[in-house]
């Protein structure tokens, strides 16, 4: 403190700096106790030995990671070959989460644009309408969706009635059902950040573009999209990341064939059949993947900004 004062900082800014440390305390508590410690615990558990009825034995082991990536036969005595089961599940999860993200973007972007271009007074009402279904619990929403989509459900009844199809569409227990479920679970996370950035967009830029002979699509692609890109990226991350680890929609709408990482991890901690270190290892792998994706995004963003300047 004395050093700070000597180097010219006034008493007032020193007090301010000190106060700032204390004001940040709650954030630090949350970060440390709710994020850092649990992640570290997970990391530690992933390197322990499994206890057969759930739980762990405190003995260092690489078994969990080994089991994830390698197949050593039923008794573990064969030469290791690559274990595709879990990698396939991961790959499917990425694919499903990606498809759900694209679906959310395709539906969410026009929705957000629509809301942001309404008169200022009615925009909060539109935002509220979008979020209404999300006051209902996710489990109930997902189960209801299964009822809507099933072979004898209202959707098929309606399509049959209109004559568009003459036998029910099998939607439940397909990849598409999972994508729909994920899309519906996380749509507001796509709409809200895009809405926020479109609302801040200076529409005079679109007018300027059309004044300079640009059509609607060119204006969208070359002027509007680059301007609202941060909102679009935020929305994609906010939908993709929870979709990747989600287990409700895949369990309820996808059936056994369409297993995703979230369900795999969930099973490891359920009842007596689980394998805690394996669940922890799968979580750590998922976490690393998410981090890698975020870093790639962030770097691209930084490069785009620097390249443009």
């Amino acid at each position: 403190m004395a050093g700070g004062a000597a180097s010219g900082g006034s008493a007032r800014t020193d007090t301010y700096r000190e106060a700032r440390h204390w004001l940040l305390l709650p954030s630090w508590v949350v970060l440390i106790f709710l994020i850092l410690i649990p992640v570290l615990m997970m990391l530690v558990y992933s390197f322990l030995t499994k206890e057969f009825r759930g739980g762990v034995i405190w003995e260092f082991s690489l078994d969990a990671y080994d089991q994830f990536f390698f197949n050593r036969g039923l008794f573990g005595d064969e030469p290791p070959s690559i274990e595709w089961t879990y990698i396939t599940i991961f790959w499917r999860s990425i694919w499903q989460a990606g498809a759900a993200t694209i679906l959310s973007l395709v539906i969410g972007f026009p929705t957000a644009y629509f809301i942001a271009t309404r008169p200022e007074k009615v925009r909060p009402m539109w935002v509220f309408l979008i979020t209404i279904p999300y006051w209902v619990n996710l489990l109930i929403r997902t189960v209801s969706m299964k009822f809507v989509l099933r072979d004898q459900g209202p959707l098929n009844d309606f399509l049959l009635w209109t004559g568009l199809i003459d036998s029910p569409l099998h939607i439940v227990n397909t990849n598409f059902a999972v994508q729909l479920g994920l899309f519906y679970s996380y749509l507001p996370f796509m709409v809200l950040p895009i809405y926020a950035s479109v609302e801040r967009y200076n529409f005079a830029l679109s007018e300027a573009a059309s004044d300079l002979y640009a059509g609607k699509w060119v204006t969208l692609r070359r002027i509007l999209l680059p301007a609202v890109k941060p909102g679009v990226i935020a929305g994609c991350i906010l939908v993709f990341v929870p979709s990747l680890g989600s287990f409700l929609a895949p369990d309820l709408l996808g059936g056994a064939k369409n297993f995703m990482i979230g369900s795999l991890i969930e099973e490891q901690f359920k009842g007596n059949a689980g394998n805690w270190p394996f669940g922890a290892a799968a979580s750590m792998i998922l976490l690393s993947m998410v981090l890698i994706i975020l870093i790639v995004f962030a770097r691209q963003q930084a490069r785009a900004e620097k390249g443009g300047a």
Binding site: N202, A204, L205, E207, A208, A209, S210, D211, L212, Y213, A214, G215, V218, I223, P226, A227, G308, A309
Partner: protein, 365 residues
């Protein structure tokens, strides 16, 4: 018939009306803007200047009426199909593009190759003396520089008409005055019709070939700077443009193009008659303060005696306020120069007010 009457007008607005719900922003405007003209729309805030400009550009629908561009009806065309470009009030430069790409944008959209568009954009930047900034982003330029980029961007595709919505309002006084000159020069060099919107009368008077004065969605007067300043057609224009004395008069007789009128205090004057003002009419008369002068004694039968109330120093001029009989106030400006050799009257003194030939103008409403 005059030659100018045969030429096709750059813009013809016929009975254009603009309504927003039950609010009428423009009430039946008809207006012709000639080719190669520096045309100004002048009026107070909210009178509908921007609305009219945006209708010409295509950003606003026309509720009723037609707009023609060199004889072609355009009011139904979208903005990107009108060969008209706009310099926006806050420039609306594309923030993520370089200056060069901003200027090249319109040319590219018109179908020119990227290389050709950039070459021409470079030339335009040279014209507005910004070549050294071509790879910068708009946010890295000063307001005046951004203004010139907006100008270059709008001129690059060689529009038939250029629209400018208060392009100078964000600049400081010195820069604004310099830009007035540059704009006028640019218009002359390019030969493009400029339609310029402003609420600054000095800007309008110094730059324009013709001015349309608007108020509350209506056209008040159309003419060159002299017409508008010296022959205002109504109270609004007389009051809005420059400074004036508006005096209530009653018309006693009209004869041979002259009207005999008297002021509230009974003082009689003879002024040019105007259409629509006959015997017995109670109307206003406008007299510019700089066309009045003070003298010690009466210089003619029409000299008015008044009591000096105050003198104000306004740099180039000295302004004297006088009280006349009947509670009328008059302001007189005399130039602040030695050569003028004019006497300065002190407050409380009696002075005579004299009018130059043709200084007073009767106003129909």
């Amino acid at each position: 018939m005059q030659v100018t009457d045969d030429r096709i007008n750059a813009i013809d607005i016929r009975n254009a009306v603009k309504r927003y719900g039950d609010f009428t922003a423009l009430k039946t405007i008809s207006l012709s803007i000639r080719d190669n003209e520096f045309f100004t729309l002048l009026g107070p805030s909210g009178c509908g200047k921007t609305t009219l400009l945006r209708m010409i550009a295509g950003f606003e629908d026309v509720t009723e009426g037609e707009i023609f561009l060199f004889g072609d009806e355009i009011e139904k065309l979208p903005p990107n199909r009108r060969p008209i470009n706009t310099v926006f009030q806050n420039y609306a430069l594309f923030p993520m593009m370089t200056i060069l790409d901003n200027v090249a944008f319109g040319l590219e959209m018109k179908g020119e190759s990227k290389a050709a568009a950039r070459k021409r954009a470079g030339e335009m930047l040279e014209l507005v003396q910004l070549s050294q900034f071509s790879s910068r982003k708009p946010s890295q330029l000063s307001g005046g520089q951004q203004q010139r980029v907006a100008l270059a961007r709008a001129l690059a595709p060689s529009p038939k008409v250029l629209l400018l919505d208060e392009p100078l309002s964000a600049l400081d006084l010195k820069l604004r005055q310099a830009m007035r000159f540059e704009l006028k020069e640019l218009q002359r060099e390019t030969g493009i019709t400029f339609i310029f919107v402003t609420h600054d009368q000095e800007e309008a008077l110094t730059m324009s070939d013709r001015i349309a004065v608007m108020s509350a969605g209506e056209l008040q007067q159309l003419g060159d700077a002299r017409d508008i300043y010296e022959r205002p057609s109504n109270m609004f224009v007389a009051d809005f443009i420059g400074e004036t004395n508006l005096l209530e008069v009653e018309v006693d007789a009209v004869e041979a193009g002259r009207a005999q009128v008297h002021l509230g205090g009974g003082h009689q004057l003879s002024v040019d008659a105007v259409e629509g003002v006959g015997k017995g009419a109670k109307v206003h008369m406008s007299v510019r303060p700089e066309r009045l002068y003070l003298s010690e004694g009466a210089e003619g039968p029409e000299s008015l005696a008044g009591t000096v109330r105050a003198n104000m120093f306004v740099g180039t001029d000295i302004q004297t306020l006088l009280d006349l009989d009947g509670g009328v106030q008059i302001s007189v400006r005399s130039s602040n120069s030695e050569r003028g050799n004019k006497r300065v009257f002190e407050p409380g003194q009696i002075a005579h007010i004299n009018m130059e030939q043709g200084a007073a103008r009767l106003l129909a409403d």
